[in-house]
Symmetry: C2
Subunit: 225 residues, 2 copies
């Protein structure tokens, strides 16, 4: 039984004996990513992936122990889009750049934030990223645990920001706004009312805005106090 208590990256992809596999984890992953890019994570069903691959649903379980495994593969796969080069020597600038890249990747794959937050699994690519961030922070006089927390927060904050960003114009957010406006007119929430009166349509969240936010969070986390 290939059922080990391990994470998927600890299991060998193919056995050396027996009938050779006709497909690969990478194939499943890229198909799943393509589907998710078009139709969201909910579109990624085992049946759909299998159909797109031209096989039956049961075949996928030769490559993956569960759907969650496939999701882990997806998340780690797009982490390859990071370009971990060009350290400037300024740790803050380098970390903000990592966040900028992460935001870019998440905007390109709108399903990523949900995965990053719900399951924090690190694959090979994720490990490379963590290694890079720790390298950037090597000279920084902070406790190791703090640095790991900074990494986690970098990802979590970015994911939360992008998720808020991508659902901005959607119907979901507009219902929210509609309800908040009704709350504002109810009289019991003067601060919210004042907020809506001033803001009008919410300001477009752009690149600089995010970079500033991230820089502030990271400074708060890692500056020697």
């Amino acid at each position: 039984m290939p059922e080990g208590p391990d994470v998927i990256w600890m299991r060998p992809e193919h056995a050396t004996v027996g009938r050779p596999a006709e497909r690969s984890r990478a194939e499943l992953t890229s198909v799943a990513i393509a589907i998710a890019d078009h139709d969201g994570l909910d579109g990624v069903s085992m049946r759909r992936v299998a159909a797109e691959l031209g096989t039956g649903p049961a075949s996928l379980y030769r490559y993956v122990a569960s759907r969650d495994d496939l999701l882990d593969l997806m998340a780690d796969s797009v982490a390859a889009e990071f370009e971990l080069t060009g350290r400037t020597g300024d740790w803050l600038a380098d970390l903000v750049d990592v966040g900028r890249q992460a935001r870019g990747i998440m905007l390109r794959h709108a399903w990523l934030p949900g995965l990053v937050i719900s399951r924090g699994t690190l694959g090979p690519r994720g490990a490379d990223l963590l290694e890079y961030v720790l390298g950037v922070l090597a000279e920084q006089p902070a406790e190791p645990i703090t640095k790991v927390e900074a990494f986690a927060m970098l990802m979590a904050v970015t994911a939360a920001y992008v998720q808020h960003e991508t659902s901005a114009g959607l119907a979901e957010q507009q219902r929210q706004a509609a309800y908040l406006e009704r709350v504002a007119t109810d009289g019991g929430h003067p601060q919210i009312a004042a907020l809506l009166a001033v803001a009008g349509p919410s300001a477009a969240p752009d690149q600089d805005r995010f970079a500033l936010l991230l820089a502030r969070v990271l400074t708060g986390l890692l500056s020697h106090t």
Copy 2:
């Protein structure tokens, strides 16, 4: 058709005419919360809630348009556990206290972080909370949008922290650790290797640790720069 494009709190709970309802949204909500507290969010199926209520699954749709609506009700319901009193005049202290309470609520209801992050919907209780936070920040010389971002980050960071906290001892996290250790021994990740060599078992995340983290994040976000 009660199918409106509105969020659930904009739809009247019961009509004034016709056969009166035998149950209430609050009843569904409290049953769903009890289930989620015991068996997690996945345990909250329409069938299970209905069974616990002594009815058929179809009956629930007289009170709720979808399962997601029920989840929204749950999230807003536990937001009533906040005690929004005792403003000290120190905005940072007050906000950290809000975070502390949020963490307490999320520890009590381990399913909350997932909801807070994935769907950021604000109900009546959520609006009260936002109103309170905006009130705390009234004197603070920051742009309104920044204050809303601070509120969102306060919630997101707390949720991410608690989620990382509650899955600490679980099998899931241990698989992670096992894989990271293998990565460390592979030789290509010296920083990670150094980290694991020093840290040993991860330090227990306690109250003070979280408060410090939150204070740093909030200071970074809201301090006049």
